[in-house]
């Protein structure tokens, strides 16, 4: 009883290398490398581990511009079986609601030829940070929604049962659920494997399937892209600099001890409440 798993991934700019133009306050994208959203790789690795254990067909799916095919190929090199990119101008400007509509439509189309048992999504992306697309897909497809999973304890493909540890505030819920389900993994649950030589060759040769909205099975264009997005970005701006800069305590010519005494004197005289209640 082999599983069919769809892993959704997003190509994102490597946020640690994003810079803002000091004058125009616009994002400088030139030269910023694109990577697979790191949270998606945690979920992909979990899908690949299920493939190792039970045998599974892992389809990686993404929505984005044509260049996102590179990110999908990267996933093939880790061991995914095939890759589909939904790419179409009608998707431009999608918010999370429109994105989950497009991706869930594509998953339905994928499932029409081969039923889908599990969908994996990243916990969130590093560029949007919303954590909304996974729940959106689960809702639209009627999948059991298992977010913030720190560990998959067991999967029984025959009984179609799954037991997971789900992160909650101050503890972990151990949940028993059923397939089909959607899982988003917590960071730290695993580390993505090294790509094997065979898979790297396979990735280099593979053709990422490119689907436009019709191929993805989307008929309602009003639910795609900007038109299908309830949220509107009104403005993008740089944070205001604070009026009051730090009062500098210079250590030049002073020992560390003297600098610390100067600091503690200021705290004592200007923040008596803090001094009395928060300091020993």
């Amino acid at each position: 009883m082999s599983l069919h798993i769809v892993a959704c991934i997003k190509q994102v700019p490597d946020s640690s290398q994003i810079r803002v133009h000091p004058v125009t306050n616009t994002i400088m994208r030139q030269g910023v490398p694109a990577v697979v959203n790191p949270f998606d790789l945690v979920s992909l690795e979990e899908a690949l581990r299920l493939k190792d254990r039970f045998g599974a067909h892992v389809t990686v799916l993404s929505m984005g511009p044509k260049m996102a095919a590179e990110a999908l190929k990267k996933c093939i090199s880790y061991g995914a079986d095939d890759a589909i990119l939904i790419t179409d101008r009608v998707f431009a400007g999608s918010d999370t609601l429109a994105t989950s509509y497009a991706l869930s439509s594509a998953i339905r189309t994928i499932a029409a030829s081969r039923p889908v048992d599990m969908v994996f999504c990243g916990k969130q992306t590093i560029d949007g940070d919303t954590a909304q697309v996974g729940p959106g897909i689960a809702r639209r497809l009627g999948l059991q929604q298992l977010t913030y999973v720190s560990r998959i304890e067991s999967v029984d493909p025959v009984a179609r049962e799954i037991v997971v540890h789900r992160r909650a505030e101050g503890g972990v819920q151990v949940l028993q659920s059923r397939l089909p389900c959607l899982v988003t993994m917590m960071e730290g649950a695993n580390t993505i494997r090294f790509a094997g030589m065979d898979d790297m060759f396979r990735a280099a040769r593979c053709e990422v399937q490119e689907w436009d909205h019709k191929a993805a099975g989307i008929t309602e264009l009003a639910r795609c892209g900007l038109k299908g997005s309830p949220t509107v970005v009104k403005k993008v701006f740089a944070p205001q600099p604070r009026a009051n800069k730090a009062e500098i305590i210079d250590t030049a010519g002073r020992s560390a001890r003297e600098s610390v005494q100067a600091l503690l004197e200021r705290l004592g005289s200007r923040h008596p409440g803090l001094e009395a209640e928060a300091l020993p």
Binding site: L97, P135, L141, A168, T231, T251, A256, H271, L274, A278
Partner: protein, 366 residues
């Protein structure tokens, strides 16, 4: 959903098609709702912070503020309702059912969705906790409305009477303001500690309205087998600590976090680190301070060897006093810290710990 495709699965609750509501329809949606996150008998304090913020929005709009409580009923649920009033709600709408004993997506999403459809609020706020984000994502999809995650500022745009929700974007390098103009409710989540805790008024009174929900345990597929309490309770306390000490790249190597922990321990506070040191694997992600980690609001925040990128700044700006220890007087953190000690953190941190320890000994002797 369009009927021409086979559903991937069986029991899909159909998501509503987005509606382009005209002005008349929107006027029917009134009031500000705050979801009060009750779990395992305890309300997450972010709910009170949201009631404080919701109060301002409701007053500006001239509408009531409602707390929404879902739970199993009984004393904890009653207490949650009473406390919601004391933290600023005009009324509480509460749905009690044994199925709602512990959080599970399906019954909670079903209950909250039906309350929203009946009550038609214009704004619905939830905490950006693991529970709140899971629930908000599900409910917004079913309602087909806009949801803005992790807002750092909420206000009303008078021209459109819409919620202007500001959040960091592009990894926290810029801010953006997002509106949901043509759909209701306007949904937003806010992380714990981003908004100030309102003053609790024990005399405050308000109506507690019981809402009927139709739930059956047999319909809920996901079951809870057990709950494992975190051993390290400190991780959960970071956001609410009165004193926080944190380190960054400037500490040079992971072993030097010892200095951060010693000072935090002496001050009875919590400790953490900046995003780069978490990404480098020096600390676990649950110790990360900043927009993508934990937002803190301590009385005293000491940042050693942290440059203070925007994403860090938005996570610590609520601190009363910020002491930055950094060898670079031009580091961005000097723009928003209260005091900047320009020097080597590896010297200053232990000197500060020693000075405080000596003072403690002197006072104990006196």
């Amino acid at each position: 959903m369009s009927g021409e495709h086979e559903a991937a699965t069986s029991t899909a609750p159909a998501a509503a098609a987005p509606r382009r509501a005209d002005g008349a329809d929107l006027r029917g949606w009134r009031g500000v709702w705050v979801y009060v996150e009750l779990e395992r008998g305890r309300v997450h304090p972010v709910s009170w912070e949201l009631l404080g913020e919701g109060r301002k929005l409701a007053d500006h709009l001239g509408v009531p503020l409602s707390g929404i409580v879902l739970g199993p009923g009984g004393e904890a649920t009653r207490q949650a309702c009473a406390e919601a009033i004391r933290h600023g709600a005009d009324e509480v709408r509460v749905a009690c059912d044994p199925v709602l004993e512990h959080y599970r997506t399906d019954p909670y999403a079903q209950a909250l969705t039906s309350l929203v459809q009946r009550g038609q609020p214009e704004i619905l706020l939830l905490g950006a906790t693991t529970l709140g984000r899971d629930l908000a994502g599900a409910v917004a999809t079913t309602l087909g409305t806009g949801l803005t995650a992790d807002c750092t500022e909420l206000r009303i745009d008078d021209e459109t009477r819409s919620l202007a929700a500001t959040r960091p974007t592009f990894g926290g390098t810029l801010l953006c303001t997002i509106h949901t103009l043509e759909y209701r409710p306007q949904m937003a989540t806010v992380r714990p500690r981003v908004m100030a805790m309102p003053k609790r008024d024990p005399q405050r009174t308000g109506a507690i309205v019981e809402e009927a929900v139709t739930l059956a345990e047999d319909d809920v597929v996901t079951k809870i087998l057990s709950y494992i309490q975190d051993a390290d309770a400190g991780k959960a306390q970071l956001a609410y600590a009165d004193v926080v000490v944190a380190g960054g790249r400037g500490l040079g190597k992971p072993e030097n976090f010892q200095l951060v922990q010693e000072l935090a321990a002496l001050l009875g506070g919590e400790w953490g680190g900046s995003r780069p040191v978490v990404q480098a694997g020096w600390l676990g992600a649950d110790r990360q301070i900043g927009q993508t980690g934990q937002t803190i609001r301590p009385r005293l925040y000491i940042a050693a060897g942290i440059s203070g990128a925007i994403q860090h700044r938005v996570g610590v700006e609520g601190a009363d006093v910020i002491i930055a220890i950094n060898s670079d007087p031009k580091a961005p953190i000097m723009e928003f810290a209260t005091y900047g000690v320009v020097g080597d953190a590896l010297q200053i941190l232990p000197a500060l710990t020693d000075a405080l320890r000596e003072r403690q000994a002197l006072r104990a002797a006196a």
